[in-house]
């Protein structure tokens, strides 16, 4: 609890705090507005980002306020959006492109992997790429193909990229501003199914913005998640508490680099871990998390780290989403498998 919050509680006044209730969509919109206002080198662009304000309204009103030269529409060509970002960064700009949906990033993989991720390395540090690529990510909104994919493992595997995903409006606001202030390219994965839920945003105090964050402390088991799965894991933790199991929920937030120390601290205490993600199982980030935990906690672990994930199939559209995305029962079953495990 920060001092300013304490002071506000005592004063009983809303004027002394910067805390406001915002949806993630509003928090991101506000963050972009403030970044554009304070950094004249920032430009925001993508399909429908200008006149329309984005299909999720994240850039709503920004073109009218900051002008068509700083917030603008692009052709429907992701390789062009990201290729242009490279040129803008070389010319000293701070590009904040949007790829409208996760699955639309594939046509721009060459620009992301072969240019954005390694231009700084290739140029011996003379051409940094201060690019924040916003990608509405993950599933849960009943959209068609290419609109529900989880690309974090793909991006995390590329040297030179940083990857982050906020799970609530407060983190969305502060992590976007933090990402935009970095000299390195950051892939900013927005959980699109969480755009509209409101939460308290303390605009004055972002707290620690690097590393993971414990969103619910617990004693018996650690649920590791990011993006939209954090909210689901919090629901699961409440249900587990009914059965006497005290679950800690760790929001990883940064998916590259991963906060190995936070994993070691949390699972070192609980001695049991389940990692939950929407992406397919095989070569998903859950494997990396499980290895980091095993490396630091092998001697004290009560059971092998469990993974509850999507399946090794293309992301399914429509109602099949409910069968694909880890649901409450599948996560509870993962917890039960860990609880039941006995060393042979």
């Amino acid at each position: 609890m920060s001092e300013s919050n304490t002071a506000t509680l005592e004063a009983g006044s809303a004027t002394e705090t910067q805390s406001v209730k915002l949806s993630m969509q509003q928090a991101l919109n506000r963050a972009l507005d403030e970044i554009l206002s304070t950094d004249p080198k920032t430009v925001v662009f993508g399909e429908d980002c200008g006149q329309l304000g984005g299909v999720f309204r994240i850039t709503d009103g920004l073109q009218a306020k900051h002008g068509e030269s700083r917030v603008f529409d692009t052709p429907l060509a992701e390789s062009g959006i990201l290729g242009m970002s490279v040129g803008l960064a070389m010319a000293g700009f701070h590009p904040m492109p949007e790829v409208q949906f996760d699955g639309f990033a594939y046509p721009a993989i060459n620009q992301i992997v072969c240019q954005i991720a390694r231009m700084n390395y290739r140029s011996r540090g003379t051409l940094p790429m201060p690019i924040t690529l916003r990608v509405p990510s993950f599933g849960g909104i009943r959209a068609p193909e290419h609109h529900g994919e989880s690309l974090e493992a793909l991006f995390a595997h590329v040297p030179g990229l940083k990857v982050v995903s906020p799970s609530d409006p407060h983190d969305a606001y502060h992590l976007l501003k933090y990402a935009a202030s970095r000299p390195d390219p950051v892939i900013f994965m927005e959980p699109k199914s969480r755009y509209w839920q409101k939460g308290d945003v303390d605009t004055a105090d972002g707290g620690t913005l690097t590393g993971a964050r414990i969103v619910r402390p617990g004693r018996h088991l650690t649920l590791v998640a990011w993006g939209a799965m954090v909210a689901r894991c919090l629901q699961v933790a409440e249900l587990a508490a009914e059965d006497g199991i005290d679950v800690e929920v760790l929001d990883l937030r940064w998916l590259k680099p991963i906060d190995a120390e936070a994993l070691a601290t949390s699972v070192g205490k609980t001695r049991r871990a389940v990692v939950v993600h929407e992406a397919p199982l095989t070569s998903g980030l859950g494997a990396e998390v499980a290895q980091l935990i095993t490396q630091s906690c092998f001697d004290t672990l009560k059971a092998p780290v469990e993974r509850v994930t999507g399946f090794d199939v293309p992301y399914p559209s429509g109602d099949l989403e409910d069968e694909y995305i880890p649901n409450i029962d599948r996560i509870l079953l993962g917890i039960q498998r860990v609880l039941e495990y006995r060393r042979g």
């Binding site: 969509q25 299909v55 959209a143 509209w196 629901q235 409450i328 509870l332």
Partner: protein, 109 residues
């Protein structure tokens, strides 16, 4: 509340404009998806244009007899912020349902 503009869509066959014949909705009307909004005439035919979405009509562009180019504003809707996403639906935060119960003997060694 958020505003969403609906420009005159590409009506096919290379047509670049249409003339308003008659408005079937007025500002203030609440419309449903696929409800006819306006009768238009092109050089090929007359047609009714269905609404691409539900919402409250707050502005209409073009009086009967006026010609509108493809891509120019036709209707502006007002929608609640939480339904303003153009693709997909907003997931409901339902009370969590469970079938699985946990059982464990926690030896705190």
């Amino acid at each position: 509340m958020a505003e969403i503009s609906f420009p005159l869509p590409d009506l096919g066959e290379g047509l670049i404009e249409a003339t308003v014949l008659d408005w079937l909705v007025s500002p203030g009307d609440q419309v449903e998806r696929n409800q006819p909004l306006v009768e238009l005439e092109t050089s090929k035919s007359a047609l009714e244009l269905p609404s691409p979405q539900a919402g409250k009509v707050i502005r209409i562009h073009g009086s009967p007899g006026e010609t509108i180019n493809v891509g120019e504003p036709l209707v502006v809707f007002e929608v609640p912020d939480n339904t303003a996403g153009i693709v997909g639906t907003v997931p409901k935060d339902d009370a969590p349902k469970r079938r699985v119960r946990l059982s464990a003997v926690l030896d705190e060694d």
